[in-house]
């Protein structure tokens, strides 16, 4: 009877050796993971919110209106975390004001969450930039809800079903962001 190549004693021996080596490597990694667990990270920034329901928050904006994220179902929401001392933020905000005017009738709603400690400069900046969308004051709670806002700006795009579709951090390509907004408004 002809023996197949894989049936040769030498190859069988090699296979057993390789399997044993693999077993020891995996066992070694398992033991190492028990001895050296990954460090705990408080407030680690995460992108794991993408594809999930946007965390609900209820705040009062600078004009005294109640802003409940849940009430925005059916709208595309651009949720922007910013601060008055953040230069890239102040570049983006006037563009967002333009988008609110242009795309508002199609269902875009922009909400700005200031991560300033003090409301006074926020009021002044909102007035100066003539922002035409609600601005609320943030805190560590909302920061943690949104995966840790540990650098600005941070923008979340939330679709009409309240699902986070994108998280953008740092200086954003505004053309690309606008394209995504348009797609979300079109239900894509």
């Amino acid at each position: 009877m002809r023996r197949g190549i894989n049936d040769s004693p030498r190859l069988r021996s090699c296979s057993r050796t390789a399997a044993a080596r693999l077993f020891f490597v995996i066992a070694g990694l398992f033991v190492a993971s028990l001895i050296c667990p990954p460090p705990l990270r408080a407030g680690a920034p995460v992108n794991s919110l993408v594809g999930k329901e946007a965390p609900r928050f209820v705040r009062t904006d600078l004009a005294g209106r109640k802003i409940d994220l849940k009430a925005y179902r059916g709208k595309v929401v651009l949720l922007n975390f910013w601060a008055t001392w953040c230069a890239p933020c102040k570049v983006e905000l006037p563009h967002f004001a333009g988008w609110q005017k242009q795309y508002g009738p199609q269902g875009l709603e922009i909400i700005a969450v200031s991560m300033d400690d003090d409301v006074t400069p926020v009021r002044a900046t909102v007035r100066k930039l003539e922002l035409n969308f609600p601005a609320v004051m943030g805190d560590e709670k909302i920061g943690s809800q949104y995966g840790g806002v540990l650098g600005l700006p941070v923008t979340y795009l939330i679709d009409r079903d309240g699902i986070i579709r994108q998280r953008l951090e740092g200086e954003t390509d505004l053309g690309e962001l606008e394209s995504t907004v348009v797609k979300l408004l079109a239900g894509k």
């Binding site: 990270r41 407030g43 920034p45 601060a83 840790g148 806002v149 540990l150 650098g151």
Partner: protein, 119 residues
């Protein structure tokens, strides 16, 4: 000062730790900060600079002071520069700014360096 260098220093130092000042916003500090560091910001505002002066009032002038922010990309941070300048004016000779190229989240937290949160 590079984040890896500070992390190594913190790991090694048992007694003589540097003074570490977070000179950004308090909201950022409360979310996440380097263990042992204290809030002393924001450096771009006069109230923040006053707080820095208070925090280092009894610190020897030769003591290593590490300041950090990470609110924005390094070249756009409004807080680090004024604090560094003020500390030098006050006579501190060993002041280092932690180089967080992108922000605190990406350049410290996401790299697994130690963090703490709260006040």
């Amino acid at each position: 000062m590079e984040p890896a260098a500070l992390a190594k220093l913190l790991q090694a130092a048992s007694g003589d730790r540097p003074v570490m000042l977070q000179v950004g916003s308090h909201i950022m500090f409360a979310q996440s900060h380097i263990p042992g560091s204290v809030f002393a910001g924001p450096g771009s505002q006069s109230s923040g600079l006053h707080l820095v002066e208070t925090k280092v009032a009894s610190t020897p002038r030769s003591k290593l002071i590490v300041i950090y922010c990470g609110c924005c990309p390094w070249d756009r941070c409004p807080n680090i520069g004024p604090v560094y300048k003020r500390l030098r004016e006050l006579g501190f000779t060993n002041v280092k700014a932690l180089y967080l190229a992108d922000n605190f989240g990406n350049d410290w937290v996401a790299k697994g360096y130690p963090t703490d949160k709260g006040e």
